[in-house]
């Protein structure tokens, strides 16, 4: 039901109820006034009749005192004298004197009246009205026992008719005017009410379609707007002409961190500031809406592709300007996903979803903005399908471990391996961890997955021990696993069950992850330490690299990130970082492992800097369990031979 319908219905209701009220009030008013006028008229009539009767009684007594009552009936002159006293309105006049009944005037109008007959029979003074077809009559019966004289007088009424006629006439006019006035007032009031109603409705509509914090239209508005936008004309316009409309999803980077560290009030102020900036976009056809949380949507119509891209650039630049909120200056950045109609979807939901995919892409790769392309969708769809297959993959043991050796420089002896997970997908083939690890981390299987990996690693360790190979295996765990209360006891049970020495297992946590919650990390690490497993910080140097954290976390290894290794030969800055870290770790009594060694030059350089442990494709790519076992067996044989040879030599 639309607003107009509601207001019309309301107006009708007010009008009808007012008219109904007017009718009821008029009816009561008319009834009361009518009765009042009738009662008043009757009392006037009665008074008049009584006066008349008193007068007549006096006259009769005067006549009777001079004439013999016995002769009254015979004496025509007396009778005529008495009749002459009667008014022409008197239609009945009867007297009873000395048990004699004289009818001086007589009419059939009252002959049948029971009230009169009863009054005469019981000789009780009384009066009443007789309603005749043509007129109203009043009768008065006066019984005077002392004088032995009773009189019945019946007269036509005049005052009564007149009173009723006046009153009814005026009442009719008054009722008519009242009725009309009521309609006017009802219309007036209903107009006022419906106006208020519309105002409050508009307010409610505004509240429902706008965000209270920023004052921008909200998601509901967006959907309503889209509903009204997709008219046949607009659809045709975009099909025929080379114009498009673009939807930009704008998401603030790291907004959650600001909210968490600075408080929601500051976060809110930041959102307001961003919304003010977005409002001032140069494009005239653009509309800004708050999509939810820290996401904004800009809807811009009548664009060509280059306009659309320049608008995306504008948005990114505009939001990148430092914002001052409550004495803090924030250097915010946003990620913008752009999707076009009709190229990126025919329905609003599709366009939004695609813009969202593009936005996540922009965020992931720090691109600022990203225009949606079909391949992004395909990738995203692929990820969604992988998410659905996680459980089955765990059950069917589709995850296998590959192992990359860690070597000791400069002899290149294998001193350990890092376990790296591969998903042997029945359709997609072998999937690398970067394709699914974040899906696992976001799923409910994150603990189960890590336990599975730990189990596989420990079983492999046992197998090698059985074959006389003693080699440590490093397993990467997710920061979410730190929240698993059973992780340590599970690992301890596994080690006991497979009788694997704890020092052969190494737990790796990336630097960023280990810094998320330093207290929790320290707690879990200390438990793991007690267990005897080795601990290492992975990808060191890429996150915040707070030295205080290395100091506090009781780890055995620091793995220097590959980004420092790549240019270590040519870039003296990388060399400086690595050598400083080596010194630092040495002082802190922690071993360092350099990751990503790919060339012999790098290896030589690192060895010259004093690196003792390294990992990379130069030594070996990650190998399957069989391959690595084969390699290890060969190496072992070589070493044994060497020893044997030496022994033989001796």
């Amino acid at each position: 039901m639309t607003n107009t319908d509601l207001s019309l219905a309301l107006r009708k209701r007010v009008l009808y109820s007012s008219i109904g009220l007017a009718i009821v009030v008029s009816a009561i008013f008319i009834s009361v006034a009518f009765n009042l006028s009738r009662d008043f008229g009757q009392s006037l009539e009665l008074e008049h009749s009584n006066k008349m009767l008193l007068q007549l009684t006096k006259s009769i007594k005067a006549i009777v005192s001079t004439a013999d009552l016995n002769e009254l009936s015979l004496n025509e002159s007396v009778k005529t004298e008495l009749i002459a006293l009667l008014d022409k309105d008197v239609i009945g006049f009867e007297i009873w004197v000395n048990n004699k009944h004289f009818k001086l005037r007589n009419s059939s109008f009252y002959a049948q009246d029971e009230g009169i007959a009863t009054a005469i029979n019981i000789k009780q003074s009384s009066y009443d009205f007789i309603e005749n077809e043509a007129e109203m009559l009043i009768w008065v019966y006066e019984n005077s026992p002392l004088d032995d004289l009773s009189i019945l007088m019946v007269t036509k009424t005049h005052a009564l008719d007149k009173a009723i006629s006046y009153v009814s006439n005026r009442l009719f006019i008054t009722a008519f005017l009242t009725f009309w006035l009521t309609v006017w007032v009802a219309l007036f009031i209903s107009a006022l009410i419906s106006k208020r109603f519309e105002q409050s409705n508009d307010r409610l509509k505004y509240l429902a379609s706008h965000d209270m914090l920023t004052g921008l239209p909200n998601r509901t508005y967006l959907y309503d707007y889209a509903l009204s936008y997709f008219t046949p004309e607009n659809v045709k316009k975009h099909q025929d002409l080379d114009t498009l409309f673009a939807i930009y999803i704008i998401d603030l980077d790291k907004f959650k961190d600001i909210n968490d560290t600075m408080g929601h009030l500051v976060g809110d102020e930041l959102l307001k500031a961003i919304s003010r900036r977005l409002r001032n976009l140069k494009e005239k056809n653009s509309q800004v809406m708050r999509y939810g949380g820290d996401e904004f949507v800009v809807w811009c119509d009548d664009l060509n592709e280059s306009d659309a891209i320049s608008l995306a650039e504008d948005i990114v630049l505009l939001c990148r300007q430092p914002i001052k909120v409550s004495n803090y200056v924030f250097e915010t950045s946003v990620s913008v996903g752009v999707a076009y109609y009709p190229a990126s979807g025919q329905q609003l939901d599709d366009i939004l979803k695609n813009a969202d995919i593009a936005m996540y892409q922009a965020k992931k790769h720090r691109l600022g903005y990203q225009v949606f392309q079909q391949e992004l969708f395909t990738r995203s769809e692929f990820r969604i399908s992988l998410r659905g297959q996680l459980n089955a993959a765990l059950e069917k043991r589709q995850f296998v471990l590959h192992y990359q050796p860690k070597v000791q420089l400069p002899e290149n002896n294998i001193v350990g391996v890092e376990a790296l997970v591969r998903w042997l997908h029945p359709k997609e083939g072998m999937l690398m961890p970067n394709m699914f690890i974040d899906i696992v981390e976001q799923s409910m299987f994150v603990h189960e997955f890590t336990r599975y990996v730990l189990l596989q690693a420990i079983m492999q360790c046992r197998e090698w021990l059985d074959n006389g190979i003693e080699l440590s295996i490093a397993v990467n765990i997710s920061p979410y696993n730190l929240m698993d209360p059973e992780l340590v006891s599970y690992l301890s049970d596994l080690l006991k069950h497979y009788q694997v020495p704890a020092e052969l297992i190494e737990i790796e946590l990336t630097e960023n992850a280990s810094m998320v919650n330093i207290d929790k990390t320290r707690e879990v690490f200390s438990q793991l330490n007690k267990l005897g497993v080795k601990l290492s910080i992975d990808d060191f140097g890429t996150g915040m690299s707070s030295l205080a954290y290395i100091k506090h976390l009781d780890v055995d290894y620091i793995k220097i990130d590959r980004s420092f290794t790549i240019d270590v030969v040519t870039d003296s800055r990388d060399e400086a970082v690595i050598s400083s870290l080596l010194v630092l770790c040495q002082k802190l009594n922690k071993l360092t492992i350099v990751e990503g060694v790919e060339t012999i030059e790098q290896a030589n350089k690192l060895a010259s800097l004093g690196c003792t442990l390294a990992q990379g494709y130069l030594y070996s790519k990650p190998l399957s369990a069989e391959e690595i076992t084969h390699l290890l067996s060969r190496r072992k044989a070589e070493t044994d031979n060497k020893i044997i040879n030496i022994k033989n030599f001796n």
């Binding site: 107006r11 006046y166 006439n169 005026r170 006019i173 008054t174 005017l177 009309w180 006017w184 219309l187 007036f188 209903s190 107009a191 419906s194």
Partner: protein, 73 residues
């Protein structure tokens, strides 16, 4: 602001014209019978308002109540 624009349709205007004339005739003919001065004046005012509405094609009450019988729907 009262915006004097036609808001009465032809039928509405004619009905108002008839009512106005009928009321004036009634007051003139039955002047004594009505008797009450207040009523006589009220009816005359009412008749005059209807007459004005008839002439202008515009009703102030409709205007306030936002009713327009000129347009359909």
């Amino acid at each position: 602001m009262l915006n004097i624009k036609h808001n009465l349709c032809a039928i509405d205007r004619i009905i108002r014209g008839i009512i106005a004339v009928a009321l004036i005739v009634y007051v003139v003919v039955f002047f004594d019978q009505i008797g009450d001065m207040l009523l006589q004046i009220s009816i005359l005012i009412f008749a005059l308002m209807n007459l004005i509405s008839f002439v202008l094609g515009w009703c102030p009450v409709y205007n306030i109540a936002n009713i327009n019988t000129c347009k359909k729907g």
